[in-house]
Amino acid sequence: MKKVLLVAALFAAVSAVHAEDTLKKIKDSGAITMGVRESSGLSYTIGDGKYVGYHIDVCERVIADLRKQLGSKIEVKYQPVTSANRIPLTVNGTVDLECGSTTNNSARQKDVAFAVTTYVEEVRIAVKANSGITSINQLNGKTVATTTGTTSVQTLRKHERATGVDFKEVFGKDHADSFLLLDSGRADAFVMDGSILAKNIATSKNPADFKIVGEVLSVEPIAIMMRKDDPAFKKAVDDSIKAIIKSGELAKLYDKWFLQPIPPTNTRSGLPLSAATKEAWANPNDKPMEDYAKK
């Protein structure tokens, strides 16, 4: 009986790690762990352990503001994450601020919290320019690639159910792998967030071989992710982001990463600022994807 009580007490202690104070944790340890992606549109690696991207720049400005607020030095540690492990790593404390391209939706809001939306993503289709495909309806009977562990898999599934279009799905283990499936001809189309498509095309060997086509399959707000039940930290991050929206710096960052040449190949994505993103900046909010679909 005593052993059972001891084990139960240990379990309770381990699981009682909610509502932690991230600001206190950062101040005490002098470091913050930034979750980064290896090959997404808003956060990627250019080799040598260096990570760059639109959301990385936003997070660096947020951390600079945190330094001012806490009045102490904060070292930044980079933790690469994947679609599959980004939420568990945030929930268990390994990552404090996830700066990749995570969609804000209601299912995820049960486990984590999101900062105000910095980018609104539209799920599109990338095809080879000479394939002649311009719409998802032309994909009947063709092979469509998407990445395991992303919301696009479910989007495709819902679309198949709703329209009766039937296609064969292949799953890449990450975005670079899915793009390789399109590049090598194993897939006729790659369905994913527009920014990820644009980035993979821009950094490929022959960008002119590919095109982003078709209607918008899904509108998704992308935001920086952090642990739930920590209002002080969320307020600090939100205030910082609202400040860079107001000062016009966010618009400049968008221009830098989507309209100007970017490393490592110095090509440009050429993705113009969508109306939905402008609207999200005008009225900063952390509404989930389901609220966008209702419109």
Binding site: R157, R161, G172, R186
Partner: protein, 247 residues
């Protein structure tokens, strides 16, 4: 630590609960059906690869003990090639590199065939090693006695050497068979809709990580353990009293 198992009865596209936990099938399925479907894929890929590995591996093991030097060298080259490259790298070689070197293969072979080749040949090198070791355990006199009573070399292998050698190596072969079930998890990297792919995708969609990974772990365990029990049964049935390994 509150677990919610209800989502297994939800439809995978609409997210609504389905009465009886089983939908009409095909594209309309619940998460439970998806998991069982994925388990079926894991078992199919594992068993097909195991069959290929046993057949090819036994052949390789046999020719490595043959007196013909060229056969023996071919067997060694095969073993070293597939033993020294990591499994995941081999899977990518079969899936991406070889079809781009031989474009005709891309249309002809589905990804299932390619993963069965990758898993099967990787394991065949290990099985070849074990079969060779089993044959070499036997006293040299067995081979010469067989030849002396007038059997040809193939007949000696078939009637004298292999029956004993295979009975000796059933335990390591059991391990290899169980390894194939576990290694089949790498198939997710080449888009086979098996258990690990289900676990990663479904836990992303539903955010119920523990409720998905624990049953998936149990299913892998049960699959590998079932092979273990089958092998134990086979071992008991083919036992020859008075030879090594018998009671």
């Amino acid at each position: 630590m509150s677990w919610d198992w209800q989502f297994y009865c939800n439809d995978t596209a609409t997210g609504e609960a389905v009465a009886g936990c089983f939908g009409p099938g095909g594209k309309e399925q619940t998460y439970l059906q998806w998991m069982l479907h994925a388990w079926g894929w894991t078992l199919s890929v594992s068993l097909l690869a195991l069959l290929l590995a046993l057949v090819v591996g036994s052949l390789i093991g046999i020719i490595r003990t043959a007196p013909n030097k060229w056969l023996a060298r071919f067997g060694e080259a095969w073993t070293e090639l597939f033993r020294n490259i990591p499994l995941l790298v081999q899977v990518f070689l079969w899936y991406h590199v070889i079809p781009s070197l031989f474009p005709v293969l891309r249309e002809a072979l589905s990804s299932t065939v390619l993963i069965v080749f990758a898993l099967g040949f990787f394991t065949s090198a290990r099985i070849g090693e074990q079969v060779k070791a089993g044959i070499n355990t036997l006293p040299r006199g067995q081979r010469y006695a067989g030849l002396a009573v007038g059997m040809t070399l193939p007949q000696t292998y078939r009637f004298v050497l292999l029956p004993m050698a295979f009975r000796i190596v059933i335990p390591p072969l059991t391990s290899e068979s169980m390894n194939i079930v576990k290694n089949s998890a790498v198939a997710f990297a080449v888009s086979i809709p098996e258990l690990l792919q289900f676990a990663l995708q479904a836990s992303e969609e539903t955010s119920h990580f523990e409720e998905i990974f624990i049953p998936v772990t149990l299913l892998y365990f049960v699959s590998a353990f079932a092979i273990n029990r089958v092998a134990k049964f086979v071992e008991a049935q083919v036992r020859i009293p008075g030879t090594s390994g018998a009671k």
